[in-house]
Symmetry: C2
Subunit: 149 residues, 2 copies
DNA sequence: TGGTAACTGAAAGTGATTTTCACTTGGGTC
DNA sequence: GACCCAAGTGAAAATCACTTTCAGTTACCA
């Protein structure tokens, strides 16, 4: 039996959900798999379509509910693009950020914190004590650079 | 005649719009004023309500259209909060960021660039060349700190 | 003081998301 | 393996967040 990367990730996710008291159901598996296979942020409608390839009667409402749950436990992350936050990528729990290719939308996650590295004197200048941040990067991925932008 | 800060800002904004070829109309003034007086991000519906205090028959559609225009010229900025990007604050044109108080939502703008200050080696680690970023900070403002969080 | 393109609000249209509810099912219990 | 039942599900309807259309109004320039 051959395990793909996606299969391994799905195993881990299902274990995590079970550990948190969530049931692992066929509809949820279909959403999880669609999310794990994607290389770019997908809208709810896209995830619904892809999820149906695995589980034909998957309901759109279930996709919404599953994404909400995955976001809550840190396995999915909402991506801001085009003035809205309507697409999702797989994610690892904990603090991290994403960078999305402006050509192909391929999205990667990275950590290693950063905004401790803010403008010196920001707290003095603004009067705010910084307690958190939200950051998303845009860039050009390696393969898009190779193929001439 | 006494000029408030809001009145001065509005003068400047109206001049800027005129300079760009936009007409300065009563509905637009009402939206501008609602935005200039706010200390926190406001939803379109909130701006509509506040705008009506000044111009009673202000249409919701005009609020949408005015915000779109203000965003285009850099005088308004969409704020990401609570999984959506549906509220707006006044803004100055050019690259800058905001910090929002987690208690009272009061929002300030700051510049001085930052994300040149990203994790060292990010481009090598991820393979992406960074070309842009979206950053919003959360914190506690001075007055909320003073009044015991 | 017109003339007119820009602008406006109401109403209708659209797409995204949430709510409701009767039915199904995962996973623990015996 | 059969049973139980709270958790989960999908269809339909309701709600929300815009966007489009269109007939009228108005800012601003000649
Ligand atoms: Mn960070
Ligand atoms: Mn910046
Ligand atoms: Zn790319
Ligand atoms: Zn505050």
């Amino acid at each position: 039996m051959i395990f793909t990367w996606v299969a391994i990730v799905l195993q881990a996710w299902e274990g995590k959900l079970r550990g948190l008291g969530y049931r692992v159901t066929a509809p949820r598996r279909a959403v999880l798999r669609a999310l794990a296979r994607a290389h770019r942020p997908l809208s709810v409608a896209e995830l619904h379509k892809r999820g149906r390839a695995q589980y034909a009667c998957l309901g759109l409402v279930t996709v919404y509910r599953t994404l909400q749950m995955l976001e809550r436990v840190g396995l999915a992350r909402r991506i801001h693009a085009g003035g809205a936050c309507r697409s999702f990528v797989a994610s690892t729990p904990g603090h991290s950020h994403t960078i999305t290719c402006e050509h192909c939308e391929k999205t990667a996650e990275f950590d290693g914190d950063d905004v401790c590295l803010l403008p010196a004197g920001l707290e003095e200048r603004t009067g705010y004590r910084v307690s958190g941040h939200w950051l998303q990067l845009v860039g050009v991925c390696r393969s898009c650079r190779a193929s001439g932008d």
